[in-house]
């Protein structure tokens, strides 16, 4: 019967960074249109495993629940993706939930993705304006150019592209496709372009674009369909040109 239908969810639990991970299984009542977040709310309401053992609610990150804030990335059935748009009816059971592995673990499904924001800072990912005062309109931009920039600027910093990248690991410090894409975005803005050199110098530095080996996993994992490999290639070309010009003129 429909109302008796249940969903099996297995969660990789870890109380803290130093603790040993362990799996717990939960049995959840099925309802129409459920996503992984709805399952996690159910567990919080009744934190009891499928074999009847009392446990604690699962810690996880979530905010907008419509795939625009980037918070709820986790590894679901082996794929790094957003939990809000992971619909239960489209997932094979038992549904396996794990934290992302390329970022420091905080607890359960929560990881610390601060490195992405730090890298954005290091790569100077902003348009340097003179101030917030009324000093007139911005530069004119052709609609075609805006459309390219808009597609790049929809990056939600979820980190899925880093999670699937073979060059992001404990031995390498590649900044990852998301940040390289930001460099492209700001270098294409008319004001941002005036400072392109600074960004290109940073993106040629440690962990820079040279680390990318073109595995192209990033573009497949991106929930926003950002042309990440195109951005990698574009920034690579810009960086090369910048270094040649730098060599010629200095």
């Amino acid at each position: 019967m429909a109302e008796a239908k249940t969903i099996l969810v297995r969660v990789k639990r870890q109380a803290g960074p130093q603790d040993t991970p362990q799996w717990e299984e939960f049995s959840i009542r099925w309802r129409p249109n459920m996503n992984v977040i709805a399952c996690l709310i159910d567990i919080a309401e009744n934190p009891v495993t499928s074999d009847g053992r009392k446990t604690t609610p699962v810690s996880y990150e979530a905010n907008c629940l419509e795939e625009v804030c980037g918070a709820c990335a986790m590894v679901i059935n082996g794929h790094s993706r957003q939990a809000c748009s992971a619909l239960v009816d489209h997932l094979e059971q038992p549904i396996r939930l794990e934290p992302m592995s390329k970022f420091p673990l905080v607890r359960d499904l929560v990881v610390d993705r601060q490195r992405m924001f730090n890298d954005a800072k290091r790569m100077r990912c902003w348009v340097p304006i003179d101030g917030t005062y009324a000093i007139g309109p911005g530069p004119r931009i052709a609609p075609e150019r805006q459309e390219v920039a808009y597609a790049l600027s929809r990056c939600i910093f979820c980190g899925n592209c880093l999670e699937v990248c073979p060059k992001v690991n404990e031995h390498g410090d590649f900044v990852g496709a998301a940040i390289v894409n930001q460099v492209r975005l700001f270098n294409m803005h008319p004001t941002g372009a005036m400072h392109a050199h600074e960004r290109l110098r940073a993106v040629r530095g440690p962990g820079g674009i040279q680390e990318c080996d073109n595995a192209q996993n990033c573009v497949k994992a991106c929930p926003k369909g950002i042309p990440l490999t195109e951005s990698n290639n574009d920034v690579n070309r810009q960086a090369l040109l910048d270094s040649i010009l730098g060599w010629m003129f200095h």
Binding site: A38, T56, Y60, N63, F117, I129, P137, Q146
Partner: protein
Amino acid sequence: MSSTKVILIGGGLAGLMAAIRVAELGHSVDLFSVVPVRRSHSVCAQGGINAAKNLKGEGDSTWQHFDDTVYGGDFLQNQPLVKGMCEAAPGIIDLLDRMGVTFNRTPEGLLDFRRFGGTLYHRTAFAGATTGQQLLYALDEQVRRFESEGKVRKLESWMFLSAVLDDAGVCRGVSAVSLRSGEVRTFPSDAVIVATGGIGAIFRQSTNSVACTGSAQSALFQQGVHYANPEMIQVHPTAIPGEDKCRLISESVRGEGGRVWVPKAAGDGRDPRTIPDAERFYFLEEWYPKYGNLVPRDVATRAIHKVVYELGLGIDGKNMVYLDVTHLPREMLTRKLGGVLEIYEKFVGLDPRDHPMKVFPAQHYTMGGIWVNNENQATNVPGIFAAGECEYQYHGANRLGANSLLSCLYGGMLAGPAAVKYAQSIAKSAESVSSAVYEREQKRQEEIYDRLRSQQGEENPISLWKEMGETMTQHATVIRYNKDLQAADAKLAELQDRYHRINLADTGRWGNQSLHFTRELGNMLVLARLIVQAAALRDESRGAHYKPDFPDRDDEHWLRTTRAEYDNGSFKFQFDPVDTSLIPPRKRSYTSS
């Protein structure tokens, strides 16, 4: 001039704008946020931001924007600040443009504008259908630049608990808890700006993000900060109903030509694409020929309610109506509305370019909020300022679409310099305040946590939250009856009682989300009661506040701001006059010109 430190609570659009202004003036900012600021709820704003730039030759003006806003808000706003906001709007768009916001463009390379609800002008600048995201990112990037210069320090994954008030009732800083370690700490500062956004979690399934609980506003209210017009709650007409949240389908969909309809015959189970035009009831266009699908949100929401509940014409007898864009060019839909159509596609599994969307109203916004003065976003407590959705100015009894991003930015622009000016004007700074003041507040907060950890009983915080949300959605949204509001208040009092019997499954410190959620839940219940009590008092219908027993606006008695003060567990209400000095109140009707 010495440098001062301002504490900012909340890293959405209003908070980030205030932070930029403070840093730009050469002062430092401690920015607290429960989520990394780039993940704040402002990213969910879809359709756009209003500014009367008049680039379409329609004769639009900032005065017209002002008039539409006040008329749309059913005259409950204090008008001078609204006028200031509308006048500042074109300059704000220029600023955003300079920051690199990827606004849609005309063939000439200028900003493009579209129509939105409650106006007849193309006044809404937009970046696809993820305008809030694009605006937030631009500000986040500017703040990151200040962060790299050491002017802004971010305390992300820290949750505000309370203001630190000295014996004279002056704010001297805040207390906050680390959502990671569970550590409670106080942070001294001469001025605090609160920009904590909406309160959707009180209704459980709303269009808001998880972090929009209203906990900070409630905590401040309980410390003596006044709260205004709590009863003014906006229900957005078009959202995808969902168990974890209701996902907004932006008003911009109608702004670009989307049409709302139901089959004329009740229970018509045909595939909507096969239903001929003559057998469709385009009720908004029929009832409101001038504005059509772009009537303000309160009007559209009530119309949908009428169609579904009174006329029984919901799709398949269910609580849903069609929002249809299948007649519009696919290329235009992708270019201008891609972001929002993608949400429908991902969460429902059908492409709205081919299938009419099924939508229903959902709680979306609070026009009411922390009381601030009519000049510079200051609350009644010295040293505390508020900006953005968490405060009550600008939108009166109903907010027009695409005015929220604007009011966030404008409020933040005012609050930043005002907080600096205040901090520099006070005789005694936080540094000279006795450490006992901070220790006292820290102890009070730790005791609240200790109590929650040691409570015994059989209650669960999620269950109580669901019951609160159900009560609020049922009785305190679209249609309100005094009898139901009183019953809702009794139910909420019962929940407050059961709250003390919550037995937490996890009493640890590290990353204990249910502990902090429970902390917030206590505050949500207070705010929920404030909403229903204020709604019960206002015996009229105005904007989003609609009582069938009092169907008309009653300016004689109720052209008043509801202003509430916390009084030891109960609320004291006063009703302040509204500054309508610029546009005299007139009857609000969208049925004809």
